[in-house]
Each structure stands twice: as structure tokens, then as C-alpha cells.
């Protein structure tokens, strides 16, 4: 727990430094002509406060006695990482293979392989979800989801509904 606390505080410190560096592109000091701080002032000084506070958390972790408890329950780390990986693969596939392939694949993986559910439940959700998404987003509120290489397959459907 203590190590994780330290790593997260360290990451937040690095993040605030990165923000500060970015903010300096615009003036961060007092702007004499208009009055008030320049465009970079707000993000810069807030990042500075964030840096101070996260440094405080970081330093404090060396003073306190090690607290009991672990950050990750190791048996649970694997499923969490698996789900994150599946999420990343799905988002990466969306613009290439299209949402209507990536999302059913994700559901199939989650329900059948990760969740070990039966075929009936898995297949009914894998088939019903994209149909719902198509009618809700594309037909009703006219928001087209990314289709990638599957785009031509949808031309007849577009012709039918639009």
C-alpha cells in the first residue's frame, strides 16, 4: 500500500511538472495592460499547488509507519488487467474493423471466455446489442458509429433507413 501510494504521488508530481511546462507557452505572470494573469497563469499556478500537495503526500509516506494491507489483491489483478487489455483492443479495432465487429467481439470475450456463461446468453447478447446500438444511435439520433472496412456493408441499410 505504501509503495503504491508513493508511486501514485510520484506520478502526480511528474504530471503537474508536465502541466507546468505546457502552461508556460502562454504568459503565466501578471499582464500589466489588461489586468489579471495571462492565459497560462491559471493552469501554471494550479499545477504548482498540485505539485506541492502531491510532494507532501510523497514525503509523508516516508514518515508514517508502513500501513497494513496490500494495494492489489494479486488474485484479482489478473482479471482487472485482462479487462483493461480487452477494452484497449476493442477501442483500437473500432476504427479499423468497425464498431459492429469490435463490440460483438468484446462482448463474446467478456461473456463466454471471461465470464464463462452459456452459449444461449452469450449469443443472444452478442447479437442483440449491436442491433440495439444501430437502431438507437444511427437510425434514431443519427449518430454514425465508426465502421472502418465494414462501411460498404452498411450502404443498403443506410438506403433503407435514411
Amino acid at each position: 500500500m505504501l509503495v503504491a501510494d508513493r508511486v501514485i504521488a510520484g506520478a502526480l508530481m511528474a504530471l503537474s511538472l508536465y502541466f507546468m511546462w505546457h502552461a508556460t507557452v502562454l504568459p503565466i505572470g501578471w499582464n500589466g495592460t489588461t489586468g489579471g494573469p495571462g492565459g497560462g497563469g491559471f493552469p501554471f499556478w494550479l499545477s504548482a499547488i498540485m505539485l506541492l500537495a502531491s510532494s507532501g503526500i510523497f514525503l509523508r509516506s516516508f514518515k508514517t509507519n508502513a500501513r497494513a494491507g496490500t494495494f492489489f489483491d494479486m488474485s484479482m489483478l489478473r482479471p482487472v488487467l485482462e479487462v483493461i487489455a480487452a477494452l484497449v483492443v476493442t477501442i483500437a479495432l473500432m476504427p479499423i474493423l468497425g464498431s459492429y465487429i469490435a463490440i460483438p467481439l468484446f462482448l463474446f470475450w467478456y461473456l463466454k471466455i471471461f465470464g464463462r456463461h452459456g452459449w444461449v446468453l452469450t449469443l443472444s447478447l452478442v447479437i442483440a446489442t449491436p442491433i440495439f446500438l444501430f437502431f438507437f444511435f444511427e437510425v434514431t439520433i443519427k449518430i454514425l458509429l465508426p465502421k472502418g472496412i465494414t462501411e460498404p456493408l452498411f450502404f443498403p441499410l443506410y438506403a433503407m433507413f435514411f
Binding site: G35, G38, A53, L87, I91, Y110, F137
Partner: protein, 505 residues
């Protein structure tokens, strides 16, 4: 009398067939979302917000408010039937709700929770109706200096009253505010904080992206870890006899319930407090003043009624500053505020003047939502028992899909979907390390207002920083903010003072 005519006009809006249907759909969806362990009102509103594009903006807000309400009712269901709070706001409901269920009185506990929620909701909506206009009138006099001081005060309540680690709270507030500055500078229009030169950052980071990431994806990751063992669902049957018995029992608890409602309403108005502490406080107060105080924790119906009135009253309370001042009283109302801004309805005192139809439609819909929620809640209890048996993997996978698609829909950029995934993982890790997420979301929503009002004041006053303190209203807010800020410091000094004294005894 003017109030009543406004309210009557409002009912004309909220009782239209479309809005009535929307309220019904909203409370039902909210009840189910709230009943699911782990998912509460804030998750429900975050996940459903992109889907509300399907109805006109005014109705969309009514829908979201109905979900908020429904989720508050629903939270009690899993507290009682599973012993796991459906949302953090229903934690106190487990204290007596779970023992009641184990004694075979699950049905009675569910009725008590529903009736108490209805009483809390109704009393607080009446208070809301009475306070809204006077508060909006006061807020009309606010200039940028007052706005800035008010936002600052809202943030300092997290430091002074939030109960989380002070340094971690400050980090989260600053992080949210910095993220809110991404995009174009409000005054000069120049681009700033365009990370890795990604064009997606020019339009800034939407509150919705952060909320879906943190409350959707992050929550699912958190649920995977905490819910591997399937909990046992206690069966509950509702008969008419039991309903009558429940209503008679509740009739004796007016004192507890009205106390809980008032307490909840006023605690709920504070951004840092809200429904969870309100429910815990109401439970504590009821326990100390009740004749049956000793039985609390062993399955006392009063111990279910007290927190349930307070958490519903708090949810209404948190709507008050959001609608009248533009300062949300809870993360869920922060999302409602973000949604309203997205649809071009800017919350604040001017809303009462420019959009009275919308304001009164929304207020009156809270009355209908309350009535709908209590009826749907009691009628659908068998369905909840069934739904709670749904495996987590089914729920989580569908929530993930809704997060991905719902995150893409508003902007139609894959950039936002990647950000959602990033915020999801980051939010999950931060939550595990005890960083509070509510101030982060609130800061992102309020950031633009805070920066704008700060810089407008300084431009108007030619850079005179003292302007914030010299104006009476703004000065008062600043003083309160300063008080909240030093509160933890005073506590810390007193505690460490005691520590050094202790060994001498």
C-alpha cells in the same frame, strides 16, 4: 401565490404525455441502476447522459433528474436484499435493513425504505420550491467577483468538511481545474495545454468524458475486483397485508422522518457533504433520540427510515445550489449541470428569468418523479429480486459497451474514447489509493466558471486583487472559504498538541 401559479405552469409541462413517460422511464431505469451493487446515481447519470440525445433538451434534464431520484430509492434495495449498499448513499440503510431481511422482514424493510424515501423526497421538494426563488433573487446581484468567491467556497468545503485526506483532496481539485483549462484560452483564444499536439485537445476535455471514464469504466474495474464472490439474495414477497402493516408502522415515525428530511436537505446543499454523510448523520440522530435507540442495528424499522429520508432529501438539496447558483451540490448534480450547459441551458439565477418554463417544469417533475418512484419501487420489488441475481459479468460488459459508444456519440471522435479508457484506469487507481473523485469531477465542471470570473474581475478592477475581499458579499464568501480551509489545520494542531501532552500523564 405567484409561486403556486409558477408551479401550476410547471405541472402543465411536466404532466404532458411525453414528460410523464420520461419520468416513468427515468425512475424505473434509476431504480434498477441504483439497486445494482456498486452503481449509484452518479454512475447512472454518467452512463445514460449520451443516450438522452434522443429527447429534447428540457425533457433530457427531466429524464436525468428522474434517474437521479430513482437511483436514490433503488440504493436501498441491494442494501436490504444483499447486505451490500447499492450506492455509497445507502450505506446507512444496511445497518438495520440487512438484519431485518435476515429476520424474514425483507418486504417490510423495502416498504419502509420506499415510503421513507417518498417522505424525504416530498418534504425536500417542498423546501426546494420555497427556497429556489429567494435564493435565485439573491444570486442575481452576484457579479464575477462573487461568482469566483462562491466557487472557491464550494471547493474549500471539500477541504474543510469532506472527511478525505486534505492533501489528496487538494491534488484532485487542482487536477480537475487544470484539466478544465485544456483547449483554448477563454480570454485571448490562444491554444494551451495541447498535449502531444493532438488536435482532439483543442476542444478541451468534456466533463462527460471524465465522468464516463471515472464513473463508468473505473467503476466496472473496481466492481470486478470487489465482487468475485456472488452474494446471496434474500427473497422478499410483498402482500397487501404487509403493505398495510408497513404503512401503519411508518405512520408512527413522522418525527424521525421529518428530522431526516430537514437534515438531509441542508446537508445535501453543501458540495462536499451530500447524501452519504446526511444519511449517516440522520441515522445517528435518530438513534440517540429514539426510544428504541438500543435496538438500532438489530433490525429496527426506524433505522431504515432515518437514513432513507435523509439521502433522498439530500439529493433534492444538492439540486438547489446547482439550479439557482450554478454551483452543483454533488457529483451527480455536477453532471446535470454539465448536461444543461451542453444543451445551452446555463444554470444560475438568469435561468429563472429566461427559461421559467424549463425551471418550473423541472421542479414540478420532481413531485411527479417522487410519486412515480414510490409506486414503481413497491410494484417492481419481485423484479428487483430477480435482477439482483444477474451475474456481474453481464452487467459489467454491457456497461462497458455503453461507455465506449456513449463516449463516442457526443463528439464523434475516437480521441474521446481513448481519453475515457485512460480516465477509467487512472480513476480506478486513484480511488484505490483513497483519492476522492467527487472534487475532481466538480472541479472540471466548475473550472471554466472559476477562471472566467477570476479574470473578468481582475480586468474590470484593473488588476486589483483586493476586489474579491472589498465587496461585501464576495468578502463574506472569501472569509467562509478561508475558515473551511484552515479547519483541518486547526484540527491537526489540536490533535498533535494532545499527542505531545499524552505521555506526560
Amino acid at each position: 401565490m405567484e409561486l403556486l401559479s409558477h408551479l401550476a405552469d410547471g405541472f402543465a409541462t411536466s404532466l404532458s404525455p411525453l414528460n410523464l413517460m420520461i419520468v416513468l422511464i427515468g425512475v424505473t431505469a434509476g431504480l434498477f441502476i441504483g439497486a445494482m451493487p456498486g452503481l449509484g446515481s452518479v454512475n447512472g447519470v454518467a452512463i445514460v447522459l449520451p443516450l438522452t440525445f434522443i429527447v429534447p433538451p428540457n425533457s433530457a434534464i427531466i429524464l436525468l433528474a428522474a434517474i437521479y431520484y430513482g437511483a436514490m430509492y433503488g440504493g436501498a434495495v441491494s442494501s436490504i436484499l444483499l447486505g451490500i449498499p447499492g450506492a455509497s448513499t445507502a450505506v446507512a440503510t444496511t445497518f438495520d435493513g440487512r438484519p431485518m431481511a435476515q429476520q424474514g422482514k425483507a418486504g417490510l424493510a423495502l416498504i419502509a425504505a420506499a415510503v421513507a424515501s417518498f417522505v424525504g423526497g416530498t418534504i425536500s421538494v417542498i423546501l426546494f420550491t420555497l427556497f429556489a426563488v429567494p435564493l435565485a433573487d439573491i444570486a442575481l446581484a452576484f457579479g464575477p467577483a462573487e461568482e469566483f468567491a462562491l466557487v472557491l467556497m464550494a471547493f474549500t468545503t471539500f477541504v474543510g468538511l469532506g472527511g478525505d485526506d486534505v492533501l489528496k483532496t487538494i491534488v484532485m481539485i487542482c487536477l480537475g481545474l487544470v484539466l478544465s483549462t485544456v483547449g483554448l484560452d477563454l480570454i485571448s483564444g490562444q491554444p494551451r495545454l495541447i498535449f502531444f499536439d493532438q488536435p482532439g485537445f483543442y476542444s478541451g476535455i468534456s466533463f462527460l468524458v471524465l465522468a464516463i471514464g471515472v464513473y463508468g469504466i473505473g467503476e466496472v474495474l473496481y466492481t470486478i475486483e470487489t465482487s468475485k464472490t456472488a452474494p446471496t439474495v434474500t427473497a422478499a414477497k410483498i402482500t397487501m397485508r404487509e403493505l398495510g402493516h408497513g404503512l401503519r408502522e411508518m405512520n408512527r415515525l413522522w418525527k424521525t422522518m421529518s428530522l431526516g428530511s430537514f437534515l438531509g436537505f441542508f446537508v445535501g446543499m453543501l458540495p462536499a457533504a451530500g447524501a452519504t454523510p446526511a444519511a449517516l448523520m440522520s441515522y445517528g440522530v435518530a438513534k440517540s433520540i429514539s426510544k428504541k435507540g438500543k435496538n438500532f442495528g438489530k433490525g429496527e424499522i426506524e433505522g431504515v427510515a432515518a437514513p432513507e429520508t435523509a439521502n433522498n432529501a439530500a439529493s433534492t438539496g444538492s439540486l438547489l445550489p446547482m439550479l439557482t447558483l450554478g454551483i452543483p451540490g454533488s457529483p451527480t448534480t455536477a453532471l446535470l449541470l454539465g448536461g444543461m450547459v451542453m444543451w445551452g441551458l446555463v444554470p444560475g439565477p438568469m435561468l429563472f428569468i429566461e427559461q421559467p418554463d424549463f425551471v418550473w417544469g423541472l421542479i414540478s417533475s420532481l413531485y411527479t418523479a417522487n410519486l412515480a418512484a414510490v409506486l414503481v419501487n413497491i410494484a417492481l420489488i419481485p423484479l428487483f429480486v430477480w435482477a439482483l441475481r444477474m451475474p456481474f459479468t453481464v452487467l459489467c460488459s454491457l456497461v462497458m459497451v455503453l461507455c465506449i459508444v456513449g463516449g463516442y456519440a457526443p463528439s464523434q471522435k475516437m480521441h474521446d474514447v481513448w481519453l475515457i479508457a485512460g480516465f477509467g484506469v487512472a480513476g480506478y487507481l486513484l480511488r484505490k489509493a483513497d483519492y476522492p473523485l467527487a472534487p475532481l469531477v466538480l472541479a472540471l465542471v466548475l473550472g471554466p466558471l472559476m477562471e472566467k470570473s477570476f479574470r473578468q474581475t481582475l480586468i474590470a478592477e484593473q488588476g486589483n486583487v483586493l476586489a474579491f475581499v472589498e465587496r461585501p458579499i464576495s468578502g463574506t464568501f472569501m472569509a467562509i472559504a478561508a475558515l473551511f480551509f484552515v479547519l483541518p489545520l486547526i484540527k491537526y494542531i489540536r490533535r498533535s498538541g494532545k499527542k505531545t501532552v499524552a505521555p506526560a500523564e
